[in-house]
């Protein structure tokens, strides 16, 4: 759109990033939290905080105990799913579907958490979506059909991919810029922060965007499969993912037969995987002559999302087949892409690194959004000096930036507070928690659009910061295990949750405080700094901003825009 390849790519980077930036910020924030989805869910069920931290029970033994529970409570079900205990999830999670009369609408499976040692029901936790809410919102949004949501998120992800690649092209000195940070220089500081967070985690950003598209690629790009298989999707999926089909019987025989003990089968499977743990056992048609047992390998054992599994006959214990061990190259490549996106393979250190990279992604998107507004505001410097107004577009962007960047953390913190403050007996409690989240976010965004000012940034950042920082205080007061209790009991996931909330809260509070401190400087303190700079802009641009539109961006001082404008890429 401009002369020169780099200029046109800079233009493309600006606009592809801005137009979907707010959705991308939400996708990044919720996706980052989803690395600790299980841990968040655990924290949000304080009734379970008293259970032993690490499971001393071997998966094989836990599976045997779970069967005793299911035979008692879920007899006649066509399918049992037993989630075995792991480092991240010490409980056994069983789900089962009720027998279903033909033609009846599909029912949601029932889910119960068990003590792995005894196979007894743990204290019934409160009803909550837990970390699954953020995980789902990451690609299904909310209050709309999942199919639309996935198209919207995919569209935005494609913009993101274009923004990243064009951003790299735009970037002349990618390495040296990473070591460049010029604080308190208005737009240039935002550019530096944007560059640093983008370049620091660049492999991650590129990977996470591309692999995100790949997770839903057969929905976004079904044409190759449609054409090669002449519309026969079933055959395609059977050929592409042999894991999904298999030799297990698809129908019950109608003759009762005792289920084989699961423990030895789990041990057999683990021996085949050189000791890699089993994470899940699925029993189809338990108690029937056609019963089958599938043991799945833990996701941590492989980069790929193609989980290896072993299928046994459910009445004789006879070995039927091993799946997902020799996956062809392209299928495995896709599996690794999806696996990289989900991060199931990641151990604690890598998981934290992913989390930090995700946070860097949030900062990258946020600084990019803010930079657009800071630059756009320069165009109004003269008009503002004369007491004029900024344009509608900038005002809207200001409001949306505020509602996304400051409003979303506030809403996420409120979600955790709602989890503890909404009475346990509330009907449809999960929906009430979610309503609290969206109410806070909605109010924050409306307020942001109505008054996109520095004060509003401070207010929302400070509120969000307070709510996050006080989570460790609120947690033990509302029935959870607090930092000290959890640490002495070895509940490191709970400690991690509280500590992370505290750090996030302090970061938000610091930015709110920093904004407040900068305010007088931006108003009155520009003169000495511009005096230091030889190419200081005319004093008109330095005039105090009219009260109706105080600088909405942190660190913004119109005096320094003109300085930076010469050097930064054009929009």
């Amino acid at each position: 759109m401009k002369e020169g390849f780099r200029q046109s790519m800079a233009w493309l980077h600006t606009w592809s990033g801005l137009l979907v930036g707010w959705v991308l910020f939400m996708v990044f924030a919720t996706g980052t939290s989803a690395y600790f989805r299980d841990e968040i869910s655990h924290w949000m069920k304080p009734e379970l905080h008293g259970a032993p931290a690490a499971s001393q029970v071997a998966p094989a033994q836990a599976a045997g105990q779970a069967v005793r529970f299911l035979e008692r409570e879920a007899a006649g079900s066509p399918r049992w799913n037993i989630g075995l205990p792991s480092d991240r999830e010490p409980d056994v999670r069983v789900t089962w579907t009720r027998p279903q009369p033909p033609g009846a609408p599909r029912q949601r499976p029932l889910a119960v958490q068990l003590d792995p040692a005894t196979g007894e029901r743990l204290a019934a936790p409160r009803a909550t979506r837990g970390g699954d809410f953020f995980y789902r919102m990451h690609f299904d949004l909310h209050y709309m059909p999942a199919l639309w949501a996935r198209w919207i998120v995919g569209f935005c992800a494609m913009f993101m991919l274009v923004a990243i690649v064009s951003g790299i092209v735009t970037h002349r000195r990618i390495f040296s810029d990473f070591f460049t940070f010029r604080p308190r220089k208005g737009q240039r500081s935002w550019l530096d922060a944007h560059n640093a967070t983008a370049v620091l985690a660049l492999p991650y950003h590129l990977m996470i965007t591309y692999t995100g598209l790949v997770t839903l690629m057969f929905m976004y790009m079904p044409w190759a499969a449609q054409t090669a298989y002449q519309g026969d999707q079933k055959t395609f999926f059977a050929e592409a993912f042999p894991n999904a089909a298999g030799s297990a019987p698809q129908k019950a025989a109608g003759r009762p037969a005792a289920l084989v003990p699961l423990g030895p089968l789990v041990e057999q499977a683990q021996a085949r995987w050189q000791g890699a743990a089993a994470s899940r056992v699925v029993v189809t048609f338990p108690g029937d002559a056609n019963a089958a047992v599938t043991v799945y390998r833990d996701g941590q054992a492989s980069l790929s999302s193609n989980q290896a599994s072993v299928v046994f006959n459910g009445t004789t214990g006879q070995w039927l087949e091993a799946r997902g061990e020799a996956v062809p190259a392209a299928s495995e490549t896709r599996g690794v892409f999806v696996g990289l996106h989900m991060g199931h393979f990641a151990g604690p250190v890598l998981r934290w690194l992913f989390f930090l990279s995700g946070l860097a992604g949030c900062v990258m998107v946020a600084t990019g959004l803010l930079m657009w507004a800071v630059k756009e505001r320069q165009k109004y410097a003269k008009a503002l000096a004369k007491g004029g107004r900024i344009g509608f577009g900038l005002r809207l962007v200001d409001g949306l930036n505020l509602g996304a960047v400051a409003g979303l953390p506030l809403a996420m913190a409120s979600f955790f507070w709602a989890n503890r403050l909404i009475p346990v007996a509330t009907p449809d409690r999960p929906a009430a928690e979610i309503a609290a989240f969206f109410t806070v976010w909605g109010v924050a965004t409306v307020a942001a659009i109505a008054w996109p000012a520095r004060r509003m940034w401070q207010l929302q950042l400070a509120l969000g910061g307070l709510l996050f920082a006080l989570v460790p205080v609120m947690n033990p007061l509302t029935g959870g295990a607090g930092l000290v209790t959890a640490a002495t009991a070895g509940h490191w996931s709970l400690v991690g949750f509280d500590a992370t909330c505290l750090l996030l809260g302090m970061a938000l509070l610091t930015s709110a405080w920093w904004l407040g401190r900068r305010k007088p400087a931006a108003r009155a303190g520009t003169a000495p700094r511009s005096a230091r700079a030889p190419q200081a802009p005319p004093p008109a641009a330095n005039a105090p901003q009219p009260l109706a539109h105080p600088a909405a961006e942190p660190g913004l001082s119109p005096a320094r825009h003109a300085l930076a404008a010469a050097e930064t890429q054009s929009s």
Binding site: L12, S166, M217, Y220, A224, E239, P328, A330, G388
Partner: protein
């Protein structure tokens, strides 16, 4: 956008009072060019990458499912490349042509081959 908006002053383009279709102002012409390229990038880029992924899925010398997965995996990179081409091209016309020509060639070949395949299947059965 108010009349006193500095953007137009900076562009040096007087805002046209009347806008006959053939005498668009610079700003309006610029906007049309952007809209045209955005359409080319989003729709044209998708069509081209869909055709490429289909061609790869049919003709890569791999097992059928493998070729399809490879073609589909590559499609997003092709899409991103197409979008960048559209915005890097010297004019909107060139941008459109750069997508339309390969898409037309690929589409025509695919159409001929698929029609041939259907006829062959029909003749065989």
């Amino acid at each position: 956008m108010t009349a006193s908006s500095p953007r137009h002053a900076a562009d040096g383009a007087p805002r046209p009072r009347l806008r006959p279709f053939l005498a668009l102002g610079d700003a309006a012409r610029y906007r049309w060019a952007v809209a045209s390229r955005a359409l080319a990038a989003i729709v044209g880029g998708y069509v081209l990458s869909a055709l490429c992924s289909t061609a790869l899925g049919l003709w890569l010398p791999l097992a059928r499912a493998e070729a399809v997965i490879t073609g589909t995996l590559a499609s997003f990179a092709i899409y991103a490349g197409a979008v960048m081409w559209v915005f890097a091209a010297r004019s909107a016309g060139r941008a459109w042509a750069g997508l339309a020509v390969p898409a037309a060639v690929l589409g025509a070949v695919l159409w001929l081959v698929l029609r041939g395949a259907v006829t062959a299947v029909g003749a065989a059965s």
